[in-house]
Symmetry: C2
């Protein structure tokens, strides 16, 4: 299932989940989403992870057919789980946590019929809260993604050629990401968001409203994926915001930088500097114990004082947050939003992305991945933050 080296990490994660379960009266949780299978086992498989509030994890596996390990038990269908537990003399749970935010309705109904006489509650938010606090090994993987991500971003200007469309430029950057080790896919919590690797937004296309709660939208190339670049030429006097995902290790970093062609109006240059100020102020203020809503307020107030509120986090459509946790998924906890009750804790990792959309120019601003340390905030994505000319 996993290598011996990885065993202490699995034990640590199990203990974190078991501790969280102790506040819920639940006897066990049963996991089947890819994200949480990966978190609890270190790999993707088809099947279920069963974690009792005390004792050993069991891995009920359908596929692949060649996994080995002490707690790997092969099944054909989920109904096999209960008969195997009976055979092994394992107590059936009285109260079981299932992933109600992620399981489909029919999967959830089917799983509930297996555990007769049990009551059920939702594990999704409990697991999200546990996953929000990264282990040292997870931080190592995010740092590795961040380093590769930044290394790729250094190479972006060299990929630009005169007369490119936004799509042509994006395609070269997607290739660049893959050559740096990007796995390509971006995992997202929730069922509705669809993204292909990330987005590259040039000029007014950045101001096209999207189906999602994003500061920047983009018309996309097709009504089946109305997000991101739209095939238009990159024009002088506009910016190019590159926000290509950083999944190099199964753990994401998030990073955006702004590039420009020709002379950029002062309004846009000024807004970019305000975004950097917002970033610096939040890094200065952030540490364990600080409510994330205060960081959002700080950002919004700075934008207001600069007279840039109408452009902040979007123009025709505004996003309701300025940052988001990252990890296995791109949108983990905490969410830096005005009504969030979340408090920064040591070993949280989040992307901070103060951005402005300036009509007829494009998007400006910044996005970095930040680690909450014992005493403050450490930036882990390092590359130049000014607007970088492509010409």
């Amino acid at each position: 299932m996993y290598t011996a080296k990885f065993l202490p990490e699995i034990e640590l994660r199990k203990t974190k989940l078991q501790n969280a379960m102790k506040n819920t009266e639940a006897d066990a949780m049963l996991i089947s989403s890819n994200t949480n299978l990966f978190y609890t086992s270190g790999r993707i498989f088809s099947g279920y992870t069963y974690i009792p509030v005390e004792g050993e994890i069991l891995f009920f596996v359908r596929r692949p057919v060649d996994l080995k390990g002490d707690n790997v038990i092969y099944i054909h269908k989920p109904e096999d789980i209960s008969s195997i537990m009976h055979e092994r003399g394992i107590n059936m749970p009285q109260k079981l946590l299932l992933e109600d935010d992620v399981l489909t309705y029919n999967e959830r109904v089917r799983l509930a019929t297996i555990f007769t006489n049990a009551t059920f509650d939702n594990s999704s938010q409990i697991i999200r809260n546990v996953r929000a606090i990264k282990t040292p090994y997870e931080i190592e993987l995010i740092r590795e993604s961040a380093a590769k991500h930044a290394s790729m971003y250094h190479r972006i200007p060299a990929e630009y050629k005169d007369g490119m469309s936004d799509t042509e430029f994006s395609i070269e950057l997607e290739r660049l990401a893959r050559l740096h080790g990007s796995l390509g896919i971006v995992r997202i919590f929730g069922s509705s968001m669809e993204i292909y690797m990330g987005s590259l937004l040039s000029g007014d296309n950045a101001d096209t409203p999207s189906p999602y709660d994003f500061a920047l939208g983009g018309a996309g190339l097709n009504s089946s994926l109305p997000i991101g670049c739209n095939g238009a030429m990159i024009r002088p006097g506009t910016t190019v915001m590159v926000d290509i995902g950083g999944n190099f290790t199964g753990y994401m970093s998030d990073l955006s930088r702004v590039f420009s062609l020709g002379e950029i109006p002062e309004l846009a240059q000024n807004a970019h500097h305000v975004a950097l100020q917002i970033q610096d102020a939040i890094i200065e203020k952030g540490k364990p114990g600080v409510p994330v809503a205060e960081l959002y307020e700080l950002a919004l107030n700075t934008a207001k004082q600069a007279g840039l509120e109408e452009y902040f986090m979007g123009h025709r459509q505004h996003a309701g947050f300025i940052g988001h946790g990252v990890g296995i998924e791109l949108n983990e906890k905490p969410v830096l939003a005005p009504r969030s009750k979340e408090i920064l804790e040591e070993n949280m990792v989040f992307a901070l992305e103060p951005k402005f959309v300036i009509p007829h120019v494009g998007a400006v601003g910044i996005e970095n991945t930040l680690l909450v340390t014992k005493t403050g905030i450490e930036k882990i994505t390092h590359c130049p933050e000014e607007i970088i000319p492509l010409d």
Copy 2:
């Protein structure tokens, strides 16, 4: 919402869904998955499509903020739907169909609370059955994807360079697909399958079992995505199976071809010819009214008679089907599997993929996208079908 040109298409799809609903006693269906929002509206948005068994579609939209159209009604949250229906004097449904195979448990529970006193049933399979029979416009879009897909495949050998790893080759082919207009994402029914654009499998890596019901697996680059190329050099005496998805229009085509380096053993060459024979036999036999299970049997028996059963549709792990419907999603109906009850109907579109995995050589075989016509089967992906040398 959609252009006037697209209105008759939306009306046609609505009528198909309403006719299907008439067999269910349901008064309406409420749709919220991206796939079915796209099917019923022609675009992706955040919100809901409401289709009564008779009368007009309503589009309840959250985002983007700038959609226009007669039946576009803006909402903040799903609970707004019932108050708006009351205001407009629209009867609340007594029996409502919801997407139980796709909605998350919590979304489904929330939607059910909005329609007090209603009973609920599952729309997912009903919509899948309707979508299995393509409209003329959908067939046009699939033909357009298929033409771009085939055009891209013609260029594959030119992308190979001596000494490439499978990943390096794959990256150039992903770029090639994007330059031909690929949108990048692959939509898949069900919650568990994760694919990045498709797969390129070389040599023994094709025989690595995957978490999914695939004939070919691949170790992948990381345990978080254990599928596809694994970074190994492409070696003489092995094959390279390229199966990169064809989503160029929001509608998919599916296409695989085999390439080779150096001399390929006779067993593999023979298996490739048997795959082509299977394809020809199925195209010869297939027409409206033919049970898909018979086509599966025909394929399996041909493989058995050739003494190749142990390699058919996988070697260390076998897939349970030889073909699958394609459309907005990569795995639509029909599924060409032994116990399927489905019958071919005019205007179904499916990918037929008889493949073999030969140990130490790699995968051979073929995949094309086929249209069921009034009298038979038409192949719509055209490019050479023999094993194509890269050197």
